[in-house]
Symmetry: C2
Subunit: 520 residues, 2 copies
Amino acid sequence: MTHDMHPQRWGDAAHAEPLPASTRELVELAFGAVDTPAVDSVTMPSSELAAHLLGTLADIVGPEHVHVDDHTRRLRTRGKSTPDLLKARAGDVSDAPDAVVRPASADEVDALLGWAAEHHVAVVPFGGGTSVTGGLVAAREGFAGLVSIDLVRMDQLLEVDPVSMTARLQPGMRGPQAEAALAEHGLRLGHFPQSFEYATIGGFAATRSSGQNSAGFGRFDQMVVGLRLATPAGELVAGSSPANAAGPDLRQLVLGSEGTFGIITEVTVRVRPAANETAYEAWRFESFTAGRDAMRHLAQNQILPTIIRLSDETETALNLASQSDVGGEGVTGCLMIVGHEGASIDGRRELIASTLTDLGGSSLGEDRGQSWLEGRFHAPYLRDSMLDVGVLVETMETATFWSNADRLYTDVKAALEASLGEGSIVLCHVSHVYETGCSLYFTIATSSGDDPLGRWIAAKSAASDAMIDAGATITHHHAVGTDHKPWLAREIGPVGVAMLRGVKDAVDPTGILNPGILIP
Amino acid sequence: MTHDMHPQRWGDAAHAEPLPASTRELVELAFGAVDTPAVDSVTMPSSELAAHLLGTLADIVGPEHVHVDDHTRRLRTRGKSTPDLLKARAGDVSDAPDAVVRPASADEVDALLGWAAEHHVAVVPFGGGTSVTGGLVAAREGFAGLVSIDLVRMDQLLEVDPVSMTARLQPGMRGPQAEAALAEHGLRLGHFPQSFEYATIGGFAATRSSGQNSAGFGRFDQMVVGLRLATPAGELVAGSSPANAAGPDLRQLVLGSEGTFGIITEVTVRVRPAANETAYEAWRFESFTAGRDAMRHLAQNQILPTIIRLSDETETALNLASQSDVGGEGVTGCLMIVGHEGASIDGRRELIASTLTDLGGSSLGEDRGQSWLEGRFHAPYLRDSMLDVGVLVETMETATFWSNADRLYTDVKAALEASLGEGSIVLCHVSHVYETGCSLYFTIATSSGDDPLGRWIAAKSAASDAMIDAGATITHHHAVGTDHKPWLAREIGPVGVAMLRGVKDAVDPTGILNPGILIP
């Protein structure tokens, strides 16, 4: 796996396989698919950064770490949201940065921010480039230029504290790098979002990421016990203790700030021992409601497994059709995946199994659970393969309290179906549960048509309106970026927005940090 | 129990008993105690609020809820920090508010803040008045007056959601009121700080409170899923979902803001079923280090009881001397209290007991555990009884990561012993544990001498310097108030302070909210 993703697709081009013929036939039947190749050649806008500014940049990081060539700039143009991909496929590279710089240390990041503030150059921090919400599309108007600060060189495990069970990590470490480095100490972080293979520690923190193991390991914001943030006003070092009453928790103000308050230069995380045992099981419930009730029971009785997910009836049926290799009986009703990881999992596994059985669940054994595990990072590749044949696949996610989950599910699904029209599909699963509520993760597939971006905007707006109208959040774990900004404004209201702006103005008075992202 | 505390003492005057003769003898022997009665009569400063302002106040809350009489104002003068008590006992009531107003609703609080901003009147929110860090001593200079906004009338349980297991509470509910109201629904909150009998839901939130059951129930900031905050800029309603990635978590920005960003008018909390079973046990460990290692093992293996506490050798010996009524053998080494509460506690109780035994612990049975439970809210009364006989008793607390706990303990203890000199005692216990670290709670007793406030300032400064120098927090759960401000500035640094000021300026541009509190 290379570090850079393909400029027009998710991940490594070597993994980007066309759809198998049988799937292609199904897709053609369902959506009237037609080959829709991406535009091959693009014309990069020239770098507009003045020569003397490039010189002073080189003074900070060394000339070999300042890149203005077309190839490098193209690889740092936008992220992987659907609008990002549609623009990239159409050959639109208008959001390219003027330069890509690669600092080696927190001090260099600090100096870069001083440089940017002095010369009024906008900066976009770059980790894995996996944003699916437009988090890398900074608004460059009014600035002397736009520079991508690529944290790829800051990729070291700095320190392990085996007594406190914490580790200090640099922000540019990708998920697999972090797990590999910790594994050498017999430890693990246990954070596996779908973007795991490319996304970075700094990005997990900046976006309040939540991984598939959240039932057992918590969200990334629950793993972070300390961090360093470089801002134009100086450095914040937060995390004197696991928890305290020394004013508002500033760690929680940095987590989710998406590069608008500063650049995260170090993250101290809680770690746990590497797992000795793992087991993945599938379960069947009669309905999405019955399955959610079972999840709620586990969460409210503090007997959660490491991973728990539940597909609605439609997603269950589709998973079945696409996983005929798994074997076994066809599944009706709703499929639940239950994963256990730890030093000794038997006791809890048995308790959860008997509880799920009591609540109406039927065990489907381990094959389907294992199959989910093996394909867990694959879905983003499928989105590209579908775009290749003119089918728009998108995911949207939200969260609410348990008593509101049914309304939220019904409303968002109805809004999507109304917007997409006949011949489209809307799937949903619960991927994260809490004592008081859960997330809902929707997947849609529809014909791209003549105006895929227009179709996307209409569906996205309809779903987002439904989420906010239902009193839910605009995003459980995809973050805000540019795509969710209008709905964030509604979710937190004008006082919430004023608070974010207040912090921003205090540490970034000239507004150079990721302008246009997050803050409405 | 009345709602108002005695103006010069903790709690209800009816509970303020003189020391028993035997204890008094011991105290005399140890500290050379002398009777030091409080000044009986005080002269209240007259209310300086102009008549037309009182009139407009009355328009908002009704004339019967605006109080300018000496008695009511005296009861809202300061909190219960040691400097607060020393000043009150000396007859100093110079921090009295000009009026006490009692709003009945979030709308009335909102109108009061509009009124205060318009007339440049400083406001101090008042819940239980239990602050031990000077959180109620607002700086009135430059304002047209100082008004205490007493939330006592906002004391209702507004709604229970038994599906989501949440409850909406008004901020003026005291701990016992909240638990009693929830008990009618078969629920409980499970938050028991030492101030429980008087402190309020709003105060728990505003100070990031942590209760004695934190191992089982979490800190108050982990219980809050939603809140409403009235600010001069309008209302913030936070909490769309249990957790999300919609920017920084604004709940965590309000929690710990100590009335400086706004007044909390509603809190939605996670609740749990009322406990069917409880058991409290005592255990003995050979040393403070061995006991902490056992706590760490339980925390890092996620097998914590509901309550776990550990006294150091000195505190263990003193507890023994003062609890001779408990019976049983004398305890050397270190005393650990382990409490279990829940629907069915046996399984976990046995697992923890066998683990503690494996780690070198010896069970001391249930009597001592039960005795701790019965006296859990009594210590603040003892502080007053000791002041009556010229002995200064104070508590100071901090938290750090496990690998730093020994250094922190040694350094703070040494700093206190050096400052207090011969004939003083310094005790410590661990009251809160996390996977990555723990709190340390110090209790000191020393002769008040001629200048008790001077002795207090010297000891407090020495301990606080030692905490910050050791990289720990200035407060694990007592909050910042005025007493901890200089050390908060060191803990979070200038960028952290700038962030807090940025938020403050955004929502309270004229600075009327609790001026002088929290923000350095």
